[in-house]
């Protein structure tokens, strides 16, 4: 049955992709106006996503027997490519739109040099388009291509400052990304060899437990973990994220890493679902605990503001890994995990933007010498602290709701009789404490006595946007019901 809502949805998804690609192409061809195109586009895309989300929610659970699938060029799978929209994809599209709008506005102030601007905006718009395409892609090989668009633009943006540290970080990031892509592609090829299709829904229908699925699962997950810097392969993250320009760090830690995580989740809820066993879950969970401890320890000893934030990304993604064993015991826990990832992305982007403002004002971001600027720029410190509070999960913030729900799921596994569940509960609770410690490290100097300095003047964008995004991150706690409801509209998932 075809509701009018569904026709809107299919054109809406294709239109969103077309719009974001159009912006990228226009900015490429017309770099002198790229920043204007970018801002107008960011507003247009946000409006579009808002309408799309409203139509999606309005279409309601009824057409949700299957996800909205859009055949490109009217060629249905297996011949053609399908876009794929469900509650999970919709949530991440909305997240991307919000973070991207904030980043775009911030970049107006941050990338002010005329020549830099012409290089920055086209790359950034391609990255954004790549992320949008990643979230709605429904085809294994197309996922590889969109991953490459995201990787190449992200690497170029990391290298953007042109310093030795940045270029070296970018080089490392590129090698890791290319290795991850090839590993992913090899997995796709294996799946194609076994089943002869590339469409994810068709693959899911044909998947069974066999050598191909096992090997493909290992290759694709390992490749995505390399890209997401999930624990055992996290080493590249801090140099890349820490030395990139602030808006780029925000997008990398907030969105690009989330994109890889999204794919891992999608694949394991779909094609590889038959392979998920409790032992596997425990293994991943242990990796998560290790990431949490290692990342927090590094964040507690790092000397630079942006390094602290970068390492905290490693730690926070430990949480996402801890969620895997919880999901095996309590299938609906994945929604909480995605909600956590959403809150984390908002808060992390806000923290990076605030750090960028402070760095701009001070001319450096060495924590020991930053006290005077921190005391002089309380608005930014407030943004930093507010987003940080959300990261550590104090009450009445998005982070609190997410961590509370995670804890609840963890306790559920303990009650279900899983002894190792205790470890997950301790890790989730303890991770919050560690986060509190490193967030305090960042803002504490603001409360010390000492010289007060405002440093270099910053534009209004750089002053206010971090605060706005931090408020959004904190308020995300209030939207928990909405996000969780949207996520529940994911057919095929528990």
């Amino acid at each position: 049955m075809t509701l009018p809502g569904e026709a809107w949805l299919t054109s809406g998804v294709a239109g969103l992709i077309a719009l974001s690609l159009l912006l990228a192409v226009l900015a490429t061809v017309w770099p002198r106006q790229a920043h204007r195109i970018g801002i107008a586009g960011a507003l247009a895309v946000n409006a579009w996503v808002l309408v799309l989300g409203a139509v999606f929610l309005n279409a309601g659970p009824e057409p949700m027997a299957a996800a909205t699938r859009v055949a490109l060029g009217s060629w249905e799978a297996p011949l053609g490519l399908m876009l794929h929209l469900d509650g999970l994809a919709m949530t991440l599209l909305a997240l991307t739109a919000v973070v991207a709008l904030a980043t775009s506005l911030y970049s107006l102030g941050y990338v002010h040099d005329r020549i830099e601007r012409r290089q920055f905006w086209p790359l950034w718009l391609w990255l954004w388009a790549g992320l949008n395409m990643l979230f709605v892609s429904g085809d294994a090989f197309n996922l590889y291509i969109t991953l490459e668009v995201v990787s190449l633009t992200a690497v170029a943006l990391v290298a953007f400052t042109g310093t030795a540290a940045a270029v070296s970080g970018a080089m490392r990031y590129l090698l890791v990304n290319l290795l991850g892509s090839l590993s992913f592609l090899m997995g796709v090829v294996l799946l194609f060899g076994e089943h002869g299709v590339l469409d994810l829904v068709l693959l899911e229908a044909r998947a069974q437990v066999g050598p191909t699925e096992r090997m493909a699962a290992v290759l694709m997950t390992a490749g995505l973990m390399l890209k997401a810097a999930l624990f055992p392969v996290h080493v590249w993250l801090a140099p890349a994220h820490g030395s990139a320009p602030a808006p780029v760090s925000a997008v990398l830690s907030g969105l690009v890493v989330t994109g890889s995580f999204y794919l891992i989740l999608r694949l394991w809820m779909g094609v590889f679902a038959p392979l998920a066993t409790p032992a596997f879950g425990v293994l991943i969970g242990l990796l998560g605990v290790a990431a949490l401890v290692w990342g927090s320890a590094q964040a507690l000893r790092a000397g630079r503001l942006k390094s602290i934030v970068a390492y905290s990304t490693v730690a926070q993604f430990g949480y996402l890994l801890i969620a895997f064993p919880l999901m095996l015991v309590e299938p609906t826990a994945w929604r909480v995990v995605v909600f956590f990832a959403v809150v984390h992305a908002l808060a992390k982007a806000a923290v990076f933007l605030a750090a960028g403002t402070l760095q701009h004002a001070a001319g450096h971001d060495r924590l020991v010498d930053l006290g005077d600027i921190l005391r002089g720029r309380l608005r930014t410190v407030f943004a930093l602290g507010l987003a940080g509070v959300s990261l550590m999960g104090l009450p009445f913030t998005g982070g609190f709701v997410a961590k509370y729900l995670l804890l609840e799921a963890g306790l559920g596994t303990v009650l279900a009789g899983s002894a190792i569940g205790v470890l997950w509960v301790i890790a989730i609770a303890g991770g919050g404490l560690l986060a509190a410690a490193y967030v305090l490290r960042m803002v504490a100097p603001a409360f010390h006595q000492g010289r007060i300095r405002r440093g270099e003047a910053v534009s209004a964008w750089m002053d206010w946007v971090p605060l706005g995004l931090a408020l959004v991150a904190a308020a995300a706690g209030l939207s928990g019901t909405l996000v969780l409801y949207t996520l529940s509209l994911t057919p095929g998932a528990p």
Binding site: A14, R114, L123, M133, E148, A156, A159, G162, L190, E194
Partner: protein, 332 residues
Amino acid sequence: MNLLLVVFDLALLAGLIGVAWRCLASTDLFRAVVLFITFGLLLALAWVRLEAPDIALAEAAIGAGITGALLLVTLERLRVIIAGRRSDRPDTVPPDPSGPGAALQALHDPPPEPRTRLPALTFALVVGSLLVTTLWHQPDAAGLEPVVDAHMDASGVDHPITAVLLNFRAYDTFLELAIVLVALLGAWSLGRHDRIPARPAPGPILPGTLRLLVPVAVVTGVYVLWAGSHQPGGAFQAGAILGAAGILLVLSRPRRMPPPPGTLLRLGLGAGVGLFLASGVYGLLAGHGFLGYPPGWDYPLIILIEVAATLSIALTLVALFIAGRPEGDDRP
């Protein structure tokens, strides 16, 4: 006859693996690059054997040709940079040639430390053997060939690969064009271009040959593009051939060529994605789906997109060879 083919296959694979091994084990980078180019040409042979003439053409032109040119010019650049640093600041050269700074010895990579050999070997062996085991377990024939064959009539072209690339999976192809462009945007964001460190050989022979070869390359490129609708060939191969011709021109610098105006250059680079996207958006608005073609218009639109894509690819490849952005791009 079959036995002969098996012998041929085994010899070819052994050659490929051997060349790849020698390439990666080489301490001299120039040698490694030459071996890599050889590897690309052998690969093209393997693709012919696997009945993939399109891929063979692309591999020879792109994989071996363009990549080879990019690698060689990079080595030359590295050599100039490192030699320049050495003469500028002799103190930056570490005294110990076997230390980690030994890469300063221009194009030389010291043999890897023995202690990483065992773990790396174990890891690679595990990955390789798992892959081989998996592949040997796979069924014999699973593919989309029958589906493509059944839809060829509706595709607007006669060559299945072109139908897949420009019609059935046009979205992938669009993104592929985008990636070529994005790689260039990335390279341009790293800085302005410098002079290409290559000197044309004196004498009339090289310019003479180029005068002969470049027009032939242009004709070949156009032919390959046109052939793509009904036999092996197409935009990417044609773009690579034209790009190679452009690289030859840039390398030999017969006369000082004026830099192209910035706007025109950007338009040329974006023509492929721009036209593709415009056609795709029209398809969306007219109700044929994003990147769909109106009935009856598929053949002309595919040809038009391919022409623009060829031009853009050729321009982009030349620009990637030059690497930095042109000075005109920074003018107000």
